[in-house]
Amino acid sequence: MLLIPCPFCGKREETEFHHGGEAHIERPKDPDALSDEAWAEYLFMRTNPKGVFLERWVHLAGCRRWFNMARNTATNEILGSYKIGEKPPKGAR
């Protein structure tokens, strides 16, 4: 049972959130310029690391804001959360 630090509301139970997968996957600016492989990379390919993972969450039952979080997927230790557009906390990169 994760205790997730929403950058806006503070620490709340996991049940208030929804996980949004890997963070920092940008939608290509010009999809037509991409090969099928590159498009597939954007659509489907994920790092899925064992260790520190930069991921997206949305505080669905709270402030409805999306944010990013750095969490160790091997231990569930949370290194910190940060707003969209901000840089990951130190030690997470």
Binding site: M1, G20, P31, W39, Y42, L43, L60, I78, I84, G85
Partner: protein, 1001 residues
Amino acid sequence: MAQKNRLTEGGRIDRSKPVNFTFNGHPLQGYAGDTLASALLANGIRVVARSFKYHRPRGIMAAGVEEANALVQLETGDRTLANQQATRIELYEGLSATSINCWPGPNFDLMAINSWFHRLMPAGFYYKTFMWPVAGWKFYEHFIRRAAGLGISPREADPDQYDQMNVHCDVLIVGGGPAGLAAALAAGRSGARVILADEQAQLGGQLLNERCEINGKPALDWVTTAETELADYPDVTILRRTTTFGYYDHNFAGLLETRTAKLTDGGEHTRQRLWHVRAKRVVLATGALERPLIFSDNDRPGVMLANAARSYLTRYGVKVGSRVVVFTNNDDAYRTAIALFEGGVKIACIIDTRSAPDGELPTAALALGIELVDNSTVTGVTGGRGIKSIEVMSLNANADGVTGVPRMIDCDVVASSGGWNPVIHLHSHSGGKAKFDEARGLFIAGETLQASVCIGAANGEFQLDGCLKQGFQAGKKAASLAGLKKSSRRKLPVAETIDETPARILWALPTTKPIGERGKHFLDLQHDVTVADVQLAARDGYKTDEHTKRYTTLGMATDQGKTGNIPGMAVLAQALGVENPGDVGTTTFRPPYTPVTLGAFAGRNVGVLTDPVRMTPMHHWHELSGCTWEDVGQWKRPWYYPQTGETMQDAVNRECLAARNAVAILDASTLGKIDIQGPDAAEFLNRIYTNAWSKLAVGKCRYGLMLREDGMIFDDGVTTRIGENHFLMTTTTGNAATVLGWLEEWLQTEWPDLKVYCNSVTEAWATLSLCGPRARDLLTEFTDDIDLSAEAFPFMALREGTVGGIAARIFRISFTGESSFEVNVPASYGLALWTQLMNAGEKYGITPYGTETMHVLRAEKGYIIVGQETDGTVMPQDLGMDWILSKTKDFLGRRSFARNDSMRADRKQLVGLLPLDKQTVLEEGGQIVAENSTARPLPMIGHVTSSYFSANLERPFALALVTDGRSRMGEQVYIPMKDRNIPAEITSPVFFDPEGERLNG
């Protein structure tokens, strides 16, 4: 012969309160304060159960959670509880318990025949046999299943209630023994919010079983004072009968509280409450469990843990036997000998695996005149249903064999102690490591991933004084780490420290023959796993702890190996020639610490509270009208409104005809509605939807399709431009929340530069959808400020005004293909307007219709339903909806059209299907084949997505997805059912009013 083993005084039972109960039908009596186990022992009952596999007679071996043998079926009928440990059942008036897994009873059990074949049934024997004939397992399995399984499940629904509670605290302390109590006092004094939970009905832990002193007074006095002090702190919560069953990430713990002393019956209360505790700090003061010595035939009724024998005497005033042998490898068991001796029990002797133990406790025991047989072990036990005597021999130099002359000692109880195992279960649940203390042969808590600490016996501190000190220190530190700095200068309690000399750890004790050849050395008493089984596992190649566990089922019973696991792993280590059992390790500790009722996990989410039923403002009108409901997401929607005597088809026909010929009304309030505002709103819609939005005029509506990035259809709906920078989007009922989430996700994470705000207004509006040729006539009666004529108010337009005196928005949009008016009023006026429309509409034949009729009507028009015509693999082109794909802008999902599979010519396409016999309604989900054949396999070319009888067309019809369907118009295909292939013709998917004249009418 009432309670022949009960002492006349002593113990924490109330002799003035006799309690009647029955065991296997025999009426017996105990006292308030007894457990079922102590009462059975008081009454001289020895055989309580039979073992799992060999059906050997078994007695009571412990006094607490570690009991592996004495399982009973408690009560009968709907309140029955299976596999209950007699040691944890507080005795109550009228209790009735029976032995499980034996017939006719524990003293004589027919299945004991199994033990004759025990040689054929070593660990894992079933993997090696039952393979012939090929279909044979089904036959064997039938009998194996009936023989296995312990107690019986209730056969009726549970009459009791369970609930849950979420709480936060600074410090959660698990265990109310001396260490936990001390921690609670220290934390409580610093003003912390404390939860102290103990699984027992009384606090005190091990002190309840001892006669020791704190501050020079009986230790229990200190317990009482501590409880009184704690009760005074408003922020200290003490939970008795509450087991912390699981310890999860980020200091979250699950606790199970049993709310009544009568285990089976919640009465007026909830029977059990499951607590969700989020703690800043956790202190684990869970104590230690004694482990037995593993010797030949150590499962006989009368072999028990040394501290259990002590507990029955001190806590319950029960003599466990008349001649007791204490068998030990450590000093602590001498306490049992002394206590029993002083309580008037004859001690036959103390057998110690060590030579000449000279610690304070052995010295004190010897001073009482108790005989010590040192450097020895029990090599055999005689007596099946109760010990008659034991055989004792000296250990050889390596302690791997015995020497000398066997000596027979008469006795009826062997109280054995192999040392203590700290309870590190919870620590491990949450990802903490275990580390092996080689010197003492036990596992203690290693590194933790949580903000937690193990203290007291759970931390390997076995001295009372040390436990108190660790407790105070841990409580204070936890409070301070949780942010409370207040400190107290009260004097700490002290207890006498009795030095104990080191134990001599021997795992499986030798007998006169190799292990397995004389008697059985049981490790897991509940699953009948022996030392020989573990050795066989190692020999068979199952060499890791986890393999041995699974091959032998060691530790997989309801007690989860609380007494057997550690010796078992040590035996495995020996069998593998590994010197240090720490290198073999322990198998994984998993929640729950002790079993937890399913009902408690479910809590109040049962019955009518299972899951919210979402209701529209008109819900209760529908209910009263006798409609049949369809579940759509959490909503209930009217499916159809049968009148007396009508079948579903009758009702749907009537509703369909009314919609096309008169006027019909649908509650469409469940549709998702999203208010979208901002200067970039149109641009936002351009990206989200496949078609273009910038040029939509204010006051106009447009249909839109949303795709996922993989190009597949995700949702659809009509969006209206309410103002230059203001749109109202509608979504399908089931997807309302998902679509809002989708919009927010793109806005917030990908396009934060777009100036757009989205707000859900689904619930703000009641939507009453009127359709049919008389709809306009009816509505005209209700409004004088909106011109409803087709010219003034065309299809796909919005008007605002009043309807029936209520501020309203009317949309001329249609899902039925009829001239329609979707009237939206503030939700709390929905019912009033609905009622008025029904009254006034009577003369036009107004008919309420449900989702089924809606589906028929839309299908007649070839309109799709997302989730029915689509399944996550369907692109707009497949549905013939290329017209809605903008060629001039990018939108989500567009790039995926250019992938190979998207451009395949033979994709499945939406078509209509007309069954040739004009009678048969095809099965939705029916598969379509090209060939009229009964061969299997038979290649499929598509499937029926929607299928109905149409009263308007006077025939059945269907929609389908068919490979290359659009080029198959007029072809005959077949829909195979169990008994026949139904022929049908492929047609256009639009069956009614293809020109759309009615829409505009």
